[in-house]
Symmetry: C2
Subunit: 282 residues, 2 copies
């Protein structure tokens, strides 16, 4: 069975739209500010998709484009202005920032940090704070698993990838959901040993062809978070989809899988931030 992202994103989007209306009735117009440094094609493309999703949800967006060589002072001034602007509920920093601005994401106000760019937001997620925002892609995986009713409690889950943006926070979310999680990465001696005994395999390695059917137990659920660009410009995941589909009970395609859910999670976080920032006692 192919687990497509669109119905998941649609369901989240429908709920977000309702929440936006409820906020508007209370006089709050949810708004996301996107701050981009430079003109990286990946950033531009994600920004376009994110804006289009916010529009679909009725969330206002504001795009701030800074020069690729902007100074720390310029960056901080732009960020602080939005930190202090009560009409802005969420701020998305397109990352990674250029090396000259490395670490500057920590200046983002935690209550507006809808994609978990700061250590404080990461810590709140880790501490299982219900008001915390997980990184959107990690949360998108959790939304996929929930929508397709894949049980987690007591399941053996192998996560491949230990980045701060996906692998590590995802391992944490899964552990909190009572799965028994093994986190593999570049230094793992034998990835196949760990995937073969898993009930669920989640690959966030960014390595095309990494997951082959002989690494999977029959009936496994495969969630593919890899987004890789082939030489011909086409997109593929970490798993060899056609062959892995023969072994897996459920598998997400790339494109059309987890990646399609990310911006709806972002919209959900903006609305949640708008609630939390506008009605702090709620």
């Amino acid at each position: 069975m192919e687990l497509r992202g669109k119905p998941v994103a649609d369901q989240i989007t429908a709920q977000v739209k309702q929440d936006v209306q409820a906020l508007q009735e209370k006089g709050v117009w949810p708004k996301l500010t996107i701050i981009r440094v430079g003109e990286k094609p990946d950033d531009l493309s994600y920004e376009r998709v994110a804006c289009s999703r916010m529009q679909q949800c009725g969330i206002l967006t504001e795009e701030i484009a800074l020069a690729a060589d902007c100074s720390q002072e310029t960056f901080i001034a732009a960020l602080q202005e939005k930190n202090n602007d009560p009409s802005v509920h969420g701020i998305l920093l397109l990352r990674p920032l250029p090396p000259a601005l490395s670490g500057m994401e920590e200046m983002l106000a935690p209550q507006k940090d809808v994609d978990c760019a700061t250590a404080t937001a990461l810590g709140r997620m880790f501490a299982e704070d219900p008001g915390a925002f997980a990184p959107c892609t990690a949360q998108a995986v959790m939304e996929m698993l929930a929508y397709y009713e894949v049980p987690l409690r007591g399941m053996d889950v192998t996560v491949i990838g230990a980045s701060l943006v996906v692998g590590k926070p995802l391992s944490e979310l899964l552990t909190t959901a009572d799965a028994t999680v093994t986190t593999c990465h570049l230094q793992t001696r034998d990835v196949a040993k760990h995937t073969r005994q898993a009930d669920i395999v989640i690959s966030a390695a960014g390595c095309p062809g990494l997951i082959q059917p002989d690494m999977l137990r029959r009936g496994v659920v495969v969630i593919d978070v890899g987004i890789n660009v082939r030489a011909d410009g086409s997109i593929c995941g970490d798993a060899n989809f056609l062959s892995c589909e023969q072994v897996a009970s459920k598998i997400t395609p790339v494109p059309g899988g987890v990646g399609s859910v990310t911006t709806s999670v972002l919209a959900k976080h903006v609305v949640q931030a708008a609630w939390q920032n506008s009605f702090p006692t709620k």
Copy 2:
């Protein structure tokens, strides 16, 4: 081989003493404030051991005892006073706090949070900030492994326990050290499956007799973080020491293992906080 904590603690303590002298020569007298609410025997005993270690290192201590039923206002006032007192470099909150004060630990200034009580400190550790303080017990395990030259890179490590104080941060520290970590907990279906294939088993479950020799592969390293009190008042770990010692290549005793290292890590963190708070550019 029995891995005792004392030589590890001695080595850390000797280094801390040197650091304290170096700080004193710069006019800084490192100081730890311990805040205790109520008179729980565990708290009193840890406080006694911690004060004795600080004294051994030349670190000043101040003990603040609040009534078990103290109000949030009283607690916050006491904490804020120490947050704002530049002569105090580290603050240890004896935890867990009473239910009425639940969540109040977040008021602790992150730069003085030497035992990782706040979400911010946890996030900094998670984000691999070199200035972050891990929870002392989790760090004590890392110090044991380093002292006894147990390699971590590429090793399969099974951690039993997913608490915020030990299991989860320890899994994170081990992953950052390039181990392949599986985190087990109460919902894990088959703990033995995960321990049998591990190169290193770390138990922080608080469950006497949990680790039996048939759950271990020959030559494994066993780190026992459990501290359990038997009916007769004696202390034991999670592993059945005498029988597991026959199978393991290295194993820590309880008492006399990881627990003996914790306060020396606390002292190390106080000195590090004193450096960081007194000479921010360093």
